[in-house]
Symmetry: C2
Subunit: 761 residues, 2 copies
């Protein structure tokens, strides 16, 4: 245990700070949004009671138990954990059960990586135990290092270093006149979700893909390496899935439907989301002999990592032999689902989830999030015993199979899709949790609610709310004094748009359920992600050793669930949504203009011969191809729709303000069922059944993971990606799709406002 208390200015970090009344929890506090005076007072009281229940000791014990052995999908301890979570849920008085699905989960059969020459080397592909770290030696249960859903393959080819292996890296290779056709590429982890790297490599004709962890990104460049420090040592390997998840998430054999026993499954040969080429992850210890022997051009500055030699791009003279083969088996996954029925609106569901499966021991990923979720469930059980009656149904889920492809959440949500479309109010997700600042992503209709809740949760390290502390961080980290002023003037901490990378994906992107993802971070840092070293020893030495942010996560996520479940009127904020989407629309219009100007400029340079003139004749340089200047796009439909959205949001806000008058008397007496029903529809209206171009599973029109980023979000994805990919006709078409979507949204908000106006009368 190396937690060091604050040594600054004698400030003592009170671990009992949660018992101090916060300024916002005062008698003069205004009613909570969507609550009458009476229900607001009661809610504040219940939420305060809730926050006092979770203990860091419990969270520590859950973590130690859940991460005690490797518990990947298909392992004995994965099932054991699910059953233990179930028993805990039940012991706290919750109605819980396990839902099982059968999913395709390949495991390593053959893994071989040889450097044939000049100086031969055979990659070790092993993570050795570390003295002092007890679970690192559980070798018989550890899943070997591999990338799940890589196709099988046996290839021998020259090697090319492609930096992060994202599309713009290949543009730079083009400028250098270097092709990866017929080559094995070696890419470093980072800058994209890992599945993008083999996908883009294959698009460019590569026959194999090695992904390694450069010490620049999460190794010794960043900090001392494990076990002396938190960062990746030379043997650490990042396992991980390389399914083409931007096409669809979940079991690759059952796109769009639950992988229940009778479900129709694709044949392996018909699955489109496997990689096209074999891919394998390695440590930087294994990568060094390969990279060190490459010749060819010196890698561009931004491509160079922290290994102690000059990075070259290749190809030549390095020749590589790579063999990947998997056991392509189906495995059971175990979602643990607990349900608290709503007292007033049982058909309105607030869902909360975190996965429980890991690549190995996963004390951080996901157990640091699973454990607080369990403690929330225990606390809610306590509240129920004390007489708390949530208006809405609450569902707590510990998902299995997140790591391979968001399998547990996706199969469950696909199985229950019709019910969810009808009943789901919101989904609150968490995953690996760390020490530091609250990071909240999600639907912008939830932005105000999330800010409100965060204002009530105490920060465990500083005497202020987690909201105030996050705001202080945003001020100090803003790049310029002007930006600092803007942050200071803002009344809220912006919620970040969600891409993918955790279990909210099916809820938000596929079903259109308003979603949020909560977690703490910014004071952690490390390089054990998806390695055997992500374990209890590491977590309790280097991440949140006292689990104080585990408790804070339980408090903020639990309070968010309660705030949504107990409200008279579901607290959605369409002004926040409308303003945010307006910003996205400005972004994509600017993107189109910039793209156009850039092509015009680049063509001028080609006409003048500037690029060739400025290049060094002793180095190969290939200027970009001339491109046709793009047409101007018609953004008018989008702007008109934004106007409609803005008007409806204002109308709803006006009605919302009306019913909040006089202590929210109208909320206390009126019938809100009709309004709430419309509110539940509002996020659903942001989907379009045809989905995004070439990926119909992704139905949300405002947020999606990028087709070429994997995790990273693309807002207004249909329009934005069409522009990025220079598909101008598609961009024009997608402007229409998004405009229709926003018009539909405006209609729903208008009808919610109309219902709310009746309540206010």
């Amino acid at each position: 245990m190396q937690f060091k208390p604050s040594i600054m200015f004698g400030l003592l970090v009170s671990l009992l700070i949660s018992q101090l009344p916060l300024q916002t929890v005062s008698a003069q506090a205004p009613n909570l949004a969507g609550y009458s005076q009476q229900s607001s007072t009661a809610e504040r009281d219940w939420e305060q009671k809730f926050r006092e229940i979770p203990t860091t000791e419990n969270i520590r014990q859950y973590n130690q138990r859940l991460s005690a052995r490797p518990h990947n999908v298909g392992s004995p301890y994965d099932k054991d954990n699910a059953e233990w979570i179930l028993s805990q849920f039940k012991s706290w008085g919750l109605d819980a059960q396990i839902e099982t699905f059968d999913v395709l989960f390949p495991t390593p059969k053959t893994r071989k990586l040889e450097l044939l020459g000049p100086k031969p080397y055979t990659a070790k592909l092993v993570e050795p135990p570390v003295p002092g770290d007890p679970t690192s030696s559980q070798q018989s249960e550890q899943l070997p290092t591999y990338n799940a859903y890589s196709v099988d393959g046996d290839v021998t080819a020259p090697l090319v270093y492609v930096n992060y292996g994202i599309p713009k890296d290949y543009e730079q290779l083009d400028r250098m006149g270097i092709s990866v056709r017929g080559a094995i590429v070696i890419a470093r982890y980072g800058q994209s979700w890992r599945g993008i790297k083999p996908k883009v490599a294959a698009e460019h004709g590569a026959v194999g893909c090695i992904i390694y962890s450069d010490p620049r990104d999460d190794g010794y460049f960043e900090g001392d390496v494990f076990p002396q420090g938190a960062y990746r040592n030379s043997n650490g390997v990042q396992r991980g899935s390389v399914l083409d998840m931007p096409v669809y998430a979940g079991d690759p054999l059952t796109p769009g439907i639950g992988s229940t026993p009778g479900a129709k499954r694709l044949a392996l040969k018909d699955v489109k989301v496997f990689t096209k080429i074999p891919v394998m992850p390695i440590s930087y210890g294994d990568a060094q002999p390969f990279l060190e022997q490459l010749t060819g051009p010196v890698a561009p500055e931004g491509w160079r990592g922290a290994l102690p030699f000059t990075y070259h791009v290749g190809p030549g003279p390095v020749k590589v032999h790579m063999v990947v083969a998997s056991n392509w088996d189906q495995k059971p996954i175990y979602d643990v689902i607990a349900r608290i029925p709503g007292s007033q609106y049982p058909d309105e569901w607030v869902i909360r989830g975190n996965h429980h499966d890991a690549w190995v021991n996963g004390s951080q990923d996901p157990v640091s999030g699973t454990s607080p979720l369990m403690e929330e469930a225990r606390a809610l059980g306590e509240l129920l015993k004390q007489g708390w009656k949530p208006k809405r149904t609450i569902i707590y889920a510990a998902w299995d199979g997140e790591e391979p492809g968001l399998l547990g959440s996706t199969e469950w949500a696909e199985t229950h899709a019709d019910e969810l479309r009808q009943h789901a109010v919101a989904y609150i997700n968490s995953d690996a949790n760390s020490r530091g600042f609250l990071f909240a992503g999600g639907s912008h209709s939830l932005q105000t609610m999330l800010n409100d809740v965060a204002r009530d949760v105490p920060d465990p390290e500083r005497q202020m709310s987690i909201w105030q502390r996050r705001r202080a961080r945003d001020i100090t980290q803003a790049a310029t004094d002007d930006e600092k002023e803007k942050v200071r003037d803002r009344k809220y901490v912006p919620v970040q748009a969600l891409g993918s990378g955790s279990d909210y994906t099916v809820f938000l992107d596929h079903l259109g359920v308003a979603s949020a993802n909560l977690g703490f971070g910014g004071e952690d840092g490390g390089g054990i992600y998806h390695s055997i070293y992500d374990d209890f020893y590491w977590y309790t030495h280097f991440d949140d050793p006292q689990f104080i942010y585990g408790r804070a996560l339980a408090q903020v996520a639990g309070n968010s669930v309660m705030r949504l479940a107990d409200a008279d009127l579901i607290p959605l904020d369409f002004m926040a949504f409308s303003d945010t989407v307006k910003g996205y629309a400005d972004d994509v219009e600017k993107l189109a203009t910039d793209e156009r100007n850039h092509i015009v400029e680049e063509n001028k340079e080609l006409d003048e011969g500037d690029q060739i003139a400025a290049s060094d004749p002793t180095k190969k340089y290939v200027p970009p191809a001339r491109e046709a200047v793009p047409p101007y796009l018609n953004f008018a439909p989008l702007k008109n729709a934004l106007d409609a959205l803005s008007h409806s949001a204002e109308r709803y806000q006006h009605a919302f303000n009306q019913v909040a008058q006089n202590g929210g008397a109208a909320l206390a007496k009126g019938s809100l069922a009709a309004v709430n029903a419309k509110l539940i529809e509002s996020e659903r209206a942001l989907t379009a059944v045809q989905g995004l171009p070439n990926r119909p599973w992704f139905e949300h029109q405002i947020y999606a993971p990028g087709f070429y980023t994997g995790y990273g979000v693309k807002t207004l994805p249909g329009i934005r990606e069409a522009i990025e990919q220079k598909k101008w006709q598609e961009a024009d078409r997608e402007i229409g799709v998004v405009a229709n979507t926003l018009n539909n949204e405006a209609t729903i908000i208008d009808s919610a406002a109309e219902e709310l106006e009746k309540v206010g009368k």
Copy 2:
């Protein structure tokens, strides 16, 4: 020889390209600025003849001869080189002589650097010979690795890593709560002139300073290391002077006066420009054991170099013992001066110089500049034989003693200060030269002349002028499409303001002689600077192996000298000067505003407690001290002076345009002596006799090397540095000084315009 010809699009690089007529050299070309039609035609003819004379083979031979042995100040081969240059000058028919000065030049007596523990290590402090590189083995003549003018000292202390050791690095140390008081600091080379590092370290209480070359900056991170590549290997050390040259340049014993035999010399104890603490340069091979064993906070991201471990700041547990002692002897230096008397204005001098001394063999620094200068001298000798008669006197100088402290140029110019103030038209400098693009710095009154000359000089690698190629580079390298457009719209390539770092310093900064510094670069790169590996083998493998840019330097510098020496009217452009200074004034006003806003913002953060709130309680963080909000400064006198300057520049430009009409008939018949006399005064008027605050030797009020940058320029230095150092009263005072200076300048330009108007009538 590894020069690779262009492989792009079959373009053949013609080594004979200088014989091709360039577009600008056509019958329809307008008159050269400052020339009548007749004199312009003659001048174009002579300049063309001049450009055809220099050969790459001669430049190669001079280089090989001059760099054949180590030739630092005080060495036998330094004198030998001077005498050989003299004999060459004479053999080309020039009136040449050697001027000798006696200067203080300390050489190493004791150098010791020990890591006492935890794991002891004794620094090697040697650069071994490299197989295949013949001159690297001349060990008996090589000056050992050291920093000249370090004080003697023997210190034992803990070590602190201070990044580049510049003022803002110490601000970051303050935030980490780390003091260097009583410690030895280790700083990496870069981001400032080296002498700044011990100066700032001593200001913060350090007792010793180690400077090392991190492989991030000029070693394997940047490219393959010598002898496989151009970059610094683990043994390479950067020697160099650490005199506090921002206070004054030249012999430290004779500030402001020539170090002639009878000159009054300071006692060593009274010299203020030695370092305050011992300082020593080392290789990264020697630095690694020291840095690797440091503990304490992990270095901030921008501080981390490319050695393969986690950079820590210290202190602890590393303990260092360091001994530095020098032989504090006087040595003779040998300036070789050739003079071509002017036919019409013998009392108007155009001066051209490059140093000949090196730290070791110095094939690049300075011989790659010295050799073209010699070839220019030969070519001018040829032209004289062909009947060319320059109107003005031309002086060619091969300076000695530049490396230790700009000794040769400074002592010569201080000795001849009165004559130079009266007669000097301009000084054209060069130094180490490389392959690539023309970089021109200097007085902005010379900007148009330098652009004009560069338009006439062919680029040896591409079929265009060096001006066109530089412009193509500026377009392609501009960061944004908007900036690219701005570069494209510009009719000139801006001349960069000069700081220090070569022999123009005394001319420009001390005497107020309009100066320019010319050189090629951007296609070189390497890490042999001031090491034994800067030699003929390295230069002919990795820099300008065919000396084609050596010839281009001779062409552009020689043509610049001729253009100035032959003009009817000295071609100065005060519009370019006025516009540029207006930009500097905008900069300093913005700097004051930004500085004010920044203090206001930082105080708000202190009031709110944001910095503490945002900090990690497990890491020490000390917030900045509260600062008084600065007063608003009165920029009105500066703006009024800029108006006056702008009006006078316009008036002069109008008169200039008038006399250029009708083929410049007025120039051909009128007497221009009075105008030229005023023009010569114009740069002198930019000095103030009291100099800059606390450094009276630096008299120029527009350009100076920064007190805390050493080489890097500070424009309007009196104002800018006062603001940077938060001396608000001084800033207000310096605004007055600069305003007076610019008003004086406006008066001179007005009187030049008045004289020119008479000619035009």
